[in-house]
């Protein structure tokens, strides 16, 4: 008997219960952004921006370079105080929370920054153990096991555990950053261009990992990405950032049909079409029509 089949199905949760939970989750917003305005000096990045993220969904945030995707993420996770508007996460107003509440909130999310943001004086494994050591009182042995698990799940080979960030490639830094973001088994992760710099195989594994974690643990994912394959394979909904706002937030098929110049150029460029074909060959016809309409 192999290890993989060692699990024998036991008592099932009743299917009614599951669907009930799902329908409640439908309206359960883990993030609510209302009337957000962000500016640097006189330069306004966001204005009157609204965004909802539901519990347990994978939302992909897209937009041209410099439209403020990273800034949006930073203002949701409490790093950039907005000049106007409300940001609610887990039902709390982060910027109005007491410092004790903030620490509680911060343990419930994991963040992967665009550049990885690993602590340069620690090894990869020490980086992953840092949040464990900071927030949980675990025996060292267990912390090590958990770190090894996360490193492996993020797709790094075990021998990269004792490497320093300066000894890693760009893609490996991303994976190590993901391992650190997942260290505390958070309810929610924020990922800033997670698959940029990964090879296509690695990127696909990454999508699988994210979807799996969502399915098994109900992880909510806020993912800034330009990877059209990721958008198709992993994301439940897509939020498009343009003109300082989220102009649309919905399932990819709906978003793609929208009559907006940037969206059409984004999804119907050669890369966009290739990603659709990869997901579902039947879509090809549909897309040809679409393009001829625009042309």
């Amino acid at each position: 008997m192999t290890k993989e089949t060692a699990i024998i199905q036991g008592q099932n949760a009743s299917s009614d219960q599951v669907s009930d939970q799902l329908s409640r989750a439908e309206h359960d917003h883990i993030i609510e952004v209302r009337g957000l305005r962000n500016q640097f000096g006189n330069f306004i990045v966001h204005d009157e921006l609204d965004l909802n993220v539901r519990r347990g969904e994978i939302i992909g945030v897209v937009g041209g370079s410099g439209t403020g995707k990273s800034v949006l993420m930073r203002s949701i996770i409490g790093l950039k105080r907005p000049s106007k508007g409300i940001v609610k996460i887990f039902g709390h107003d982060f910027y109005g929370a007491s410092s004790k509440e903030k620490i509680g909130i911060e343990q419930r999310w994991g963040v992967l920054f665009q550049g990885g943001a690993l602590f340069s004086s620690m090894t990869v494994a020490q980086n992953v153990m840092a949040p464990l050591r900071a927030h949980l009182h675990l025996p060292d042995e267990l912390a090590r096991d958990i770190a090894a698990l996360k490193i492996s799940m993020a797709g790094l080979p075990p021998e990269s555990g004792d490497k320093f960030p300066s000894e890693l490639s760009g893609g490996m830094k991303k994976r190590a950053g993901l391992a650190r973001a997942l260290a505390l088994d958070p309810e929610m992760v924020f990922l800033d261009e997670p698959t940029a710099g990964l090879d296509p195989i690695g990127a696909a594994q990454f999508d699988d990992l994210i979807v799996n974690l969502r399915n098994t643990m109900g992880l909510t994912v806020f993912m800034v990405t330009h990877d059209l394959d990721s958008l198709h394979a992993a994301c439940d909904r897509i939020a498009v950032l343009s003109d300082k706002k989220v102009i649309v937030n919905g399932p990819i098929d709906e978003v793609r049909k929208l009559d907006h110049e940037w969206i059409q150029r984004y999804f119907s460029g050669p890369r966009g079409r290739a990603a659709v074909v990869a997901k579902d060959p039947n879509h090809v016809e549909d897309f040809k029509e679409k393009r001829s309409v625009i042309a």
């Binding site: 699990i7 024998i8 020490q126 464990l132 949980l136 042995e141 267990l142 770190a147």
Partner: protein, 376 residues
Amino acid sequence: MQIARFETGHKGDILTLDIFGDWTARHVGGIDAALRKFADKTIGRELIINLKEMKGLDTAGAMMIQRTFHSCQDRTHKSAIVGAEPGQESLLRQVLGHLEPCQIDPPQDSPFVTMLYRTGAGVSGVYYSTLELLNFIGLTLVTMMKVMVNPRRWRLASIAHHMEETGLNAVPIVGLMSFLIGAVVAFMGAKVLQQFNAQVFVVELVGIAVLREFGVLLAAILTAGRSGSAFTAQIGSMKIREEIDALRVLGLDPVEVLIVPRTIALVIMLPVLSFLAAALGIIGGGLAAWATMDISPALFMARTQEMVVLDNFWAGIIKAPFFAFVIAVIGCFQGMEVEGSAESLGQRTTLSVVQALFLVIVLDAFFAMFFLELNF
């Protein structure tokens, strides 16, 4: 939220492990050691893990369950994990391929070998870093010469910027410090000289001390702390972010672009700061003498002009460009030596200030002996 716990037992010769409560990272810390002990005991035996009573599960808990289940390779079909809900089951399946331990800390030898290694590295490090520093000084000098003969390669904007940063912005602190030092020298001198009824010699004391030594030394020490460290931090962080490499592949010489302008700026500005320090030191001394011994400013100035000839001033100021060169080159050199991590940047910045101060004092001692021989 429920405490994670487990119960062990056996059905015939099959061991059982019943899991209770929340098996999440937050709650499993207390039972890890006991679970490991149990896992060791199961080796060579069959094991059934029962999850019926388990509440929450996350990857950490799933990892512990799978780790226990697979602690022994030769379990047969009699062994199983039972009672998992579908979600928990897929979580258990998901962690399965990832149970291999990994290296956590950088590899380390035994303490004795490490001590030997560090002693050796320390000794040879003195030799090699001296060699490298000399090499770097030579490189800077040669590049400076090359730049000098070609006015088009003078980076005037950059030099002016660094002159402002290292010179102009240091004026308040250098002025204040030397003013105070001048006053302190006068106070202390007055106390001793009073015993010999020779208070009036406090003018010579302040003049000679401030002009020859304190002015320039104070300016150099403050500059090493302010600007030498800044050079290391600037160049070091550029090194970490591969900006130095970017310069190189663009065909720009980092020594010419970064180091020569800083060195020139400091060599120009430190004599100016030293002059300022000397002047304010004398003013501070004069005011202190006036306050404590009623030596009027007019008398003080007259005696200063009479006794403290220009020689003393030159003996001080001539040292400034040399000090400046040492500070700038050390600061830049340590910046270029930064490797990879933020920690290395911190070490190099410390080293830069310590080395610069050390060399400034050594150089000052050499100058003192030199001037003594020359009767200067």
